[in-house]
Amino acid sequence: MRTLYLKELRALLPLQILMILTNSADFFYRPLTQRLDEKAWTDISSYIGPGEGADMGISLVVFGLLIAYSLFPREHDEGTIDFLYSLPVSRRAIFVAKVAAGWTVLLVGCVVLQLSDFTLQSQNPQSFVGEQWRLDVSASVVLLQASFAGIVLCHGLVLSFLRRFGLIPYAMGGWVVISLERVSPTFSYLNVMNILTLEYDGQRVAIPWFELGLHIALAAFCVALAYVLWMGRAEWATALWAKAQKAPHGRAALGCATVLVVIGFFVLAVIISLGDDDESDRGFDPDDDGLRPVSFSVDSAETERFDFTYPSNMREKALALIRGADDLHEGLRQRLSAHKGARVIVDLTEQSPHHEGITAWTKMRVGLIAAIDEAHLRHVFTHELVHSFQFQESQRRLGDNNRATRFFGEGSAEYFAFELVPNESQRRASRQVTLAAWSRHRIRFEVLADDDALRESFDPHLVYPMGESWTAALVEACGAAAPGRVLRAMGREDAPQDLAPMAFWQDTLQAVDCDLEEVIGRWEQMMLEGVESEAEFLAALPRLGGGVASADSDEIVVLAALDRAPLPSELYPEVRYYLRVRDNPGVDDSQIRAFEGDVLSLGEGRRIEFRVPRDYFHGQRFQFQLGLRFNPRCWAYFEPWQFADVQ
């Protein structure tokens, strides 16, 4: 048995070397390119960060399957398994030796990764960053990675029986699991990759014991099945497979099976897609109009600059917008000094619960049905039209640099929407949200201009009101034509690519002879003056704090407390309180769920209660942020994100 085990290890040695080199290649090049005594563990092992780790799954899946496919198929295809059978060892021993050798290779790969990373980071003698390494975290990572790789190995043992055909249902199964998870986070325990995504309780890794146990149990079943398939009595399974491959009707049967698997997969995918389309359980979004899809016939209309499609039964509402559309186009074109561009295609049948409008290039979709009134519709339409100009004037670079430009894209769209469709009360409310966020969260331009950083800590919708005020500062500092010039500077032929956000803005404004520092200076000055003029409002605006108050099998109750009296109802009659939840900072906006709170007491206790169905959560921890909306037509003010345990 031991000899067999060693023989298998020898056979897998090339893969062992490859795995070590793949995972630990930086052990060789980092010393030549970096000062190791300045590198932290988190710099070297990016997979240990909170919410990170799943990327390692790709490498571990590849090696898990490679090793699994190296254990049995070749021995059978080339007939060398018969030599092993002729040895005085049981079939079980052969099987165990092979599987153990395979898992050993994976385990060694994971351990060597930790050792090499430990060695690299240990050169850093500094406090804080030099003291990041912890044995418990490293051991937890090895446990999770080696378990994951072992689970994939067990899957691979079964799949390899079907040779390359086995990879098709495996890939499809993976897709189905990921789709199910997207439809409902409840199914996330099915996704084995989630085992690798690290969550922390303080500084300790929170091991997902339930998921780990479940997948290890499934893997054990796979091992048993693989044993039956590869080592079963008289090799009936392998003989059957070989026969099926040789005989024409066998190949036909395999072909039919393939088609059936693929069709079955598609049927499942259709069902999942339809389930995904069901908006009824998305929670409540402060920006959700509560609209649900309906059917209607459509009409079309043409103007000088637009081709409209609209619901026939909303002709009057549509025509009110269509009549002024060319004027809005011309007004915007002049403000941006833009070319007329191509005709704009406007689909007014939009019914999305996620947004009021969406634009790409010269195609716009605007929610005519959801619009509160004509002024609001014109605001949304103008906002989207600005996006169309942005795409064209910047040669799509605005979208290419979304991380750095999102605040400007949305903010300048808001700015021009307010300029062309004036609404002072709404603009003031928008600025009030900006001022509250700026003064309380100390949001610097460096954060605003880096969408990843902004959404990691703050309300991702802040780009709209804050970007609007920043665009106003840009106009003040660099002239009314500056937004248009900035867009064209982004699209210039020789614009450097993939710059970090600050470098991007320095370069772009420099290209239009404008100074980023001056714009930021004006913006901050504007904020300071705003804080002064809105001091009364800001002093009255409550701050919210809270956490999970209780949890049962159906729902989680989050309680929020106000740190001062609520806003006076005579001035703010429609104040509403919201809770947003998300899994981690990396999720996109559509995966953020929002819930409106019930006011328990606005007296001494000042408590708001939020009830969240438990199946919205899939990890052990989640993030939430509390906020309130004081103007129904404006953005809500939100506190920073904070973590909580699901319990």
């Binding site: 490859l18 070749r74 072909g255 499609t309 020789d494 690519q497 420099q510 520092e517 909580a644």
Partner: protein, 657 residues
């Protein structure tokens, strides 16, 4: 012609099952794509279905066909039977290629037609738009099929080559200015495929697509025809495990190499664009003052900085007498900042330093802001000169101390003569009061020391060290130390690590100054003790609030936690004895990741409160802001007029339970 027809018939008969399979599965694939696109919250047009289908299913179809038409034939060596017939080898390859192309093209065009039908209800589709979409679709399909067809002839190396191509494309995209989405076949199927209704695809992208496709066709023919097809036949054998591993190692090496190689277009060097900029003629210094009324303040600052920087460049000159090259230094006026807060701005490599400050003349600026800013700027210059090495923690205290020392170099004598009126020295004396001596581990862990005391106080402690050194060994000793640390270029690799291991702090003092470091520390502490005992110093220090802070995490309902910070003033030091009615207390806080790193001041959230000092205990609360499982940093600062800076009475990293 008969030969071609016979070949075609043979191929169709041989691969009938595959074609039937594709016929059954592709409509399902299309259907799921439509549903996915329609249900996507970001969907702008149903035509996107066609784009997605071209990205995913057309290549998959091509891979299946390529496998059946080429790989299976050569792997099974059945092409030898066909070659034995009176048919040219080229004809066999042509039939396979054209058959595959027609099928893949048919699939792509069908997708376009169905997508257009679905889109008709919500948008107009003109002839030009349809023509443009068809052109892009056909060019892309031709290129993709040509690549996949040719890959079939590469036999056992095709999978590694697929992987290699992916790595190559990834590397080119990530490390060079090549924008993949605007290049060749990728540009054909980007979002413009279904959005651009008027302008044809860029000629260069179209040409690249067609040339690329043609090149792969040529490669396929070369592989199939050269040496009577023996190369393709030889390559069709199965790969051994060793070959797989060797190829894998090559990929790892290639990937590693891409991390070192980078060839990007450089952005234009940073410069101020406004007219409101004054420049120095002697040092690379620019000051953006933004408004006319700030010009005189900017000029005053320029004069001071010119003096600081030119003398620094001269002092840190090399052994050959050449002055060091200062990096470009820029200061931008930021009136929203207070006089003692400075914001360094990240610039690209070689762009130098940019710092925001409020240098308008004011009491706080004149009272200490100016001096602190100059020290801050010198500190930034030292970092830039050494490519960040000056901030290496074991020696970072010297950087902090030397910066302040250099900014105050004209006041050092008065500091020594009248320590009670020297703010930096007073801060150091206050920080080291009551047997809180400076220890070597505090200097080694300078970032912790800085966090515990706050920046201003910590910098002053470091400054006091250099002041003592100057008094003991003269100014030349301080300068020798600075030159040793900052007048050298630090390599960005392990050579610097080795250098630092060979020259620790003790060696630095011993070799440069001839003083054992322990001895210096003892003298430093003794001198601070002596100064603290001076009556005028003691009188000032007695007026500094003496307080302690305590952080408590209190449980509220369920898992809600409140962070409560208590400030306790020493009983003898209520507001009355301090001659103060009130003081500003700042609560600095933020959440932490599981892995520690030094925190910058601007990263901290701040709650300020004006508190009455007639009470012994003051409490501040953060209600429900941090929950169990989070780690937080909390610091409490009390403004001290005597020291001219906040004193930190609490700095703690804590896990909330």
């Amino acid at each position: 012609m008969d030969r071609i027809a016979a070949l075609l018939e043979k191929e169709l008969r041989q691969h009938l099952a595959t074609l039937v399979g594709l016929f059954l599965t592709l409509p399902m694939a299309y259907l799921i794509t439509v549903l996915g696109v329609v249900s996507s919250p970001d969907n702008i047009t149903v035509l996107t279905t066609h784009q997605v289908f071209l990205w995913v299913f057309v290549p998959l179809t091509g891979m299946v066909l390529g496998h059946r038409l080429v790989v299976v034939e050569y792997h099974g060596r059945t092409q030898l039977f066909v070659e034995a017939l009176p048919i040219r080898r080229g004809e066999m390859v042509t039939v396979k290629y054209v058959l595959g192309l027609l099928i893949v093209m048919g699939v792509a065009i069908t997708s376009l037609l169905f997508s257009s039908l679905f889109a008709l209800g919500s948008e107009p589709l003109g002839a030009r738009f349809m023509g443009l979409m068809t052109l892009r679709t056909m060019a892309y399909t031709f290129c993709v099929w040509s690549v996949l067809f040719a890959m079939g002839f590469l036999g056992r190396f095709r999978v590694p080559i697929y992987v290699g191509l992916v790595i190559l494309v990834f590397a080119l995209n990530a490390l060079t200015e090549l924008e993949l989405r605007r290049f060749g076949p990728f540009a054909m199927v980007d979002q413009q495929l279904v959005l651009e209704r008027v302008v044809p695809p860029p000629g260069s992208a179209l040409a690249a697509t067609l040339i690329l496709g043609a090149a792969w066709v040529v490669l396929a023919y070369i592989m199939a025809l050269i040496n009577e097809g023996s190369i393709a036949e030889a390559l069709a054998r199965r790969m051994t495990l060793k070959e797989k591993s060797a190829v894998g190692v090559l990929f790892v090496a290639a990937l590693s190499a891409t991390t070192v190689l980078e060839d990007r277009r450089q952005q234009a060097p940073f410069s101020f664009q406004e007219d409101e900029v004054i420049r120095s003629t002697t040092v690379p210094l620019e000051i953006l003052y933004l408004r006319e009324s700030a010009l005189s303040d900017a000029e005053t600052l320029r004069d001071q900085l010119e003096s600081d920087l030119s003398s620094l460049a001269h002092t840190l000159r090399g052994d050959d007498g050449r002055e060091i090259d200062l990096p470009p230094i820029r200061v931008a006026l930021r009136e929203s900042l207070d006089a003692t807060t400075f914001e360094p701005v990240g610039l690209s490599k070689n762009d130098g330093i940019l710092v925001r400050a409020n240098f308008r003349s004011s009491e706080p600026w004149e009272g200490g802001g100016n001096s602190s800013f100059r020290a801050f700027l010198i500190r930034e210059v030292l970092s830039e000169l050494t490519d960040g090495r000056a901030e290496f923690e074991p020696k970072a205290w010297i950087q902090d101390g030397f910066s302040r020392y250099w900014a105050d170099r004209d006041r050092l004598d008065s500091c020594r003569q009248s320590p009670a009126s020297c703010a930096p020295l007073l801060r150091a004396l206050w920080a080291t009061r009551g047997r809180r001596d400076v220890r070597d581990w505090q200097l080694e862990q300078w970032f912790r020391t800085r966090e515990r005391h706050g920046e201003e106080i910590a910098w002053s402690v470091a400054f006091s060290g250099l002041l003592v050194l100057e008094e003991r060994s003269g100014r030349d000793a301080v300068i020798a130390l600075a030159r040793r640390l900052y007048a050298r270029s630090a390599p960005s690799d392990m050579r610097e690590l080795v250098h630092d291991r060979l020259h620790p702090m003790s060696d630095l003092f011993e070799a440069t100054l001839g003083i054992p470091f322990d001895e210096f520390l003892t003298e430093w502490n003794a001198e601070l003790d002596r100064l603290r005992e001076l009556p005028e110093v003691a009188a000032v220090l007695d007026g500094v609030p003496e307080a302690t802070g305590k952080l408590t995490i209190e449980r509220d309902v369920g898992a809600i936690r409140n962070a409560v910070v208590r400030l306790d003033l020493r009983p003898s030091q209520t507001g009355r004895s301090l001659n103060l009615q009130s003081a500003v207390v700042s609560l600095l806080h933020r959440d932490l990741t599981p892995f520690d790193r030094p925190l910058e001041r601007h990263e901290l959230r701040r709650e300020e409160r004006l508190v009455e000092l007639d009470e012994l205990t003051i409490e501040l609360q953060l209600l429900g802001r941090y929950g169990p499982g989070m780690r937080i940093f909390v610091a409490l600062e009390l403004e001290s007029e005597r020291l001219g800076c906040p004193i930190r009475v609490l700095a703690e990293r804590r896990a909330v339970r």
